[in-house]
Symmetry: C2
C-alpha cells in the first residue's frame, strides 16, 4: 500500500509545513516508512528537519528539471523511517520551466511513478499559492490534507481551494480525494477559534479531523533546532496533538 498525500492551502501561514514535518515524524516513530517531499521554494520543511544548506545536489529541483532519479535525490533525516526530498530556492524557477513542458501538470506524478519507492506514505508540503507547483502536487496525490487556521481569512480561502481541487479532480486527476480538513493553531480561550471550528464542522462534517491542533509555542520553537516537536519536547501539547493526529490518520488505513 502506498499513498501520496498533498498538504495544501493557498492561505499563508496556516500550518502546512508544521503538519507535514510533525505528522511524518509521528508516523515514522510508529514504525511506518514515510517520505516527505518539500515542494515549497522557501524550504521550511527541509530546515524543519535540519536538512538545509547541503551542497550535494540532492533536491527536488534536480530531480524534476535535471532528471536526477528520485531514489538518488532522497536523503535520510536522522529519524528512523523518515526520508526527505529537500527543496532549494531554485524551485521558484521550476514554475516557468514546468509550464513549458507538454506534461507540465504530471512531472512530479511521473517521477514518483517511475521510481519504485517503498514508502507507505509520501507527503508533499505545498507553497502558499495555487500555481503549477501546487497543481503538480495535486496531480501526484491520492488525497489532499488541508490545514486551516482557526481564523477568518483562512476560512474565507477554503472555498477557493475546494474549487481548485474539484477542477483538478475533474480535468487532471479523477482519483483525487480530500484526506481531511485539519484545524490548527486553535486557542480555545478565544471565541474566534470556537466559532471557526464549529462552522467548519457544520459545513464539512466527516471531512474534518476529530483531532484539533492547539496553538503551542513548542511547535514554533522546534524548527529553529531542526527537529520535529516529538524530538524537541515530547510532553508538549503540540507533540501530543500530532501524536493523536497520527493515530487518527492510521485508523483510516489500518483496516485495509
Amino acid at each position: 500500500m502506498r499513498k501520496v498525500i498533498a498538504i495544501a492551502n493557498q492561505k499563508g501561514g496556516v500550518g502546512k509545513t508544521t503538519t507535514a514535518v510533525n505528522l511524518s515524524a509521528c508516523l515514522a516513530r510508529a514504525g511506518i516508512r514515510v517520505l516527505l517531499i518539500d515542494f515549497d521554494p522557501q524550504g521550511n520543511a527541509t530546515s524543519g528537519l535540519g536538512g538545509q544548506g547541503q551542497k550535494d545536489g540532492k533536491d527536488v529541483y534536480r530531480a524534476l528539471i535535471d532528471a536526477l532519479p528520485l531514489p538518488e535525490a532522497i536523503v535520510e533525516t536522522g529519524y528512523e523511517n523518515l526520508h526527505l526530498l529537500r527543496s532549494t530556492p531554485e524551485l521558484t524557477g521550476a514554475q516557468v520551466e514546468l509550464a513549458a513542458r507538454s506534461d507540465q501538470h504530471f512531472v512530479l506524478r511521473n517521477k514518483i511513478r517511475e521510481a519504485s519507492l517503498d514508502f507507505a506514505f509520501i507527503f508533499i508540503d505545498c507553497p502558499p499559492s495555487l500555481t503549477n507547483l501546487t497543481v503538480n502536487a495535486l496531480c501526484a496525490a491520492d488525497s489532499v490534507l488541508i490545514p486551516i487556521q482557526c481564523e477568518y481569512y483562512s476560512l474565507e480561502g477554503l472555498t477557493e481551494l475546494l474549487k481548485t481541487i474539484n477542477l483538478v479532480k475533474e480535468r487532471l486527476n479523477p482519483g483525487l480525494e480530500i484526506e481531511g480538513i485539519l484545524p490548527t493553531m486553535c486557542d480555545f480561550r478565544t471565541n474566534l477559534s470556537k466559532q471557526v471550528v464549529s462552522e467548519v464542522r457544520r459545513y464539512f462534517g466527516e471531512r474534518v479531523f476529530e483531532t484539533v491542533i492547539p496553538r503551542s509555542v513548542c511547535l514554533a520553537e522546534a524548527p529553529s533546532f531542526g527537529k520535529p516537536v516529538i524530538d524537541y519536547d515530547i510532553r508538549s501539547q503540540g507533540a501530543e496533538s500530532y501524536l493523536l493526529l497520527a493515530e487518527e490518520f492510521l485508523k483510516r488505513y489500518r483496516t485495509e
Copy 2:
C-alpha cells in the same frame, strides 16, 4: 508628495494584509488620503475592509488586463480618506497574462503613473510568493515594508526576500528602498519572540521599526466584521500598536 509602498514577504501568514489594512486605516483617520491596492488573488485586504463580493467589475484585474482606467476601478471604503482597489480570484490568471507582455514587470507601475491620482500614500498588499505579481508591485513601489512574524521560519525567509529586492533594485527599479522591517504577532511572554526581535535588530539595525506589533486576538477578529481594528475595538492592544506605527511612519515624512 506621493509615495507607493509595497507590503511584501513570500513567507505566508506574517501579517502583510493585517498591516496593509490597519496602517492604511490609521493614516486615513489622521486625515491623510490613502489608496490600498489588494494585489493578492485571495482578496483578504478587500474583505478586511468589507469590499468583497461586489459584481460591479471594479477590480485590479479589470484595471490591469482589460485596461479599465484606475480612477474608475478605485472604490470608497466607508472610511474617510481611505480608498480601495479590490482584488478578485481572476487575478491568479493575470500571472500568465502578464508574463506574455513585453512590459510584464511594469504593468502596475505604468497604470499608477498614467492615472494622476491624488493620494499621499499608495499601499500594495502582496501575495505570499515571489512570482510576477510581487515583482510588479516591487517595480511600482518607491519602498517595501516587510512584516515578519517573530518566529524561526519567517526569519529564515528574510534573506531570500532581500536577495529578490536587491535584484529588482539592480535590474528593474533602481529607486526601490526598504521602508522598514516590522516585527508582528510578538508574544513577549515567550523567549522565541524576544530572541527573534533582538536578532532582527542586531542584523538590520535602523531598518527595523521601533514599533512592534503584539499578538492580539482583536486583529484576527476584526476582519470577520470587514473592519480595521481601530473601528472594531480602538482600545485593544492591536489598535494601539498600529496607531503607534502610523505615528512612527508619519514622522519620516512630516519633515519633508
